[in-house]
């Protein structure tokens, strides 16, 4: 009934998202948030949405978590709470890493890893790209406009302050 892969992915996701909010140091919180995003990407892979999973890894772990880490490091010591003790942290890291590795092993075992032949119609990449370009092309263009506006807005926010000071 309950699949082991699903169970471990859900456990990793939920546990590390709790840890992201409850870890005392924000750097560890950001790392735990990255692990939660990774577990969520695993759930997307499990649901045959491979492209979404890859997108999730690229955007969330590649961009958002790195951005959060940079902000935490730049804003720095005034967030200032002491980091976790090393012993508890290493125990936690051991549990998390073993869970992650177990999940990876279970996912990449041949039976749980459908190739392109027995991939269900849910992971139909051609259908996805057709829908994205033909049906939702205008929305895609608007999305890129919004992203450009957000980048310009963020730059403006970060820059105007220096002049006023």
């Amino acid at each position: 009934m309950t699949d082991l892969v699903f169970l471990s992915l859900a456990t990793v996701t939920i546990a590390s998202s709790i840890l992201a909010l409850e870890a005392r140091d924000l750097v560890y919180g950001a790392a735990a948030l990255g692990i939660a995003f990774l577990g969520m990407a695993g759930l997307f892979f499990y649901l045959d949405a491979a492209y979404i999973g890859a997108f999730q890894i690229a955007v969330y772990i590649g961009a958002v978590v790195v951005l959060i880490l940079f902000t935490v490091m730049l804003v720095g010591p005034q967030l200032g709470e002491p980091p976790l003790e090393l012993k508890r942290l290493s125990l936690l890291a051991a549990i998390l890493v073993s869970l992650l590795l177990g999940t990876a092993g279970a996912v990449s075992s041949a039976s749980a890893f459908p190739g392109p032949d027995n991939c269900g119609s849910g992971c139909d990449l051609i259908g996805l790209s057709n829908a994205l370009i033909n049906q939702y092309g205008v929305q895609l263009e608007f999305l890129s406009l919004v992203l450009a506006a957000a980048v310009i807005g963020a730059l403006t926010l970060a820059k105007t302050d220096r002049k006023t000071e």
Partner: protein
């Protein structure tokens, strides 16, 4: 395949964690974490619905692509605001943050 209710359970738990963080945390970065968790819960819900309906819908995946892009944008702007506030030498405690008003 797992029954659809278990994905909903994970999604609801993530939503609960996110709402808990939104209501109890005071640090702006932690509140951003909570918002991202809520986005993820919604994404999981949409993907599960799209996959487990028959026939599987591709529209759900398109919607989640848009959501992920918008969430990244929101995080960028939010973190820019956090940096701006922290440069004004105030605490980034959102309950006390009235410095940017007006």
């Amino acid at each position: 395949m797992e029954p659809i209710t278990s994905f909903f359970a994970v999604s609801v738990i993530l939503l609960g964690i996110g709402i808990y963080g939104l209501t109890t945390k005071r640090n702006a970065i932690r509140i951003l974490f909570s918002i991202e968790l809520i986005y993820n819960a919604a994404n999981l819900n949409i993907i599960a619905f799209a996959r487990l309906s028959s026939p599987p819908l591709v529209t759900g995946q398109v919607l989640v692509l848009f959501t992920i892009a918008l969430a990244a944008m929101e995080a960028a702007v939010g973190l820019a605001i956090v940096m701006l506030v922290s440069r004004l030498n105030v605490d980034i405690d959102l309950r006390k943050l009235t410095r940017l008003r007006g």
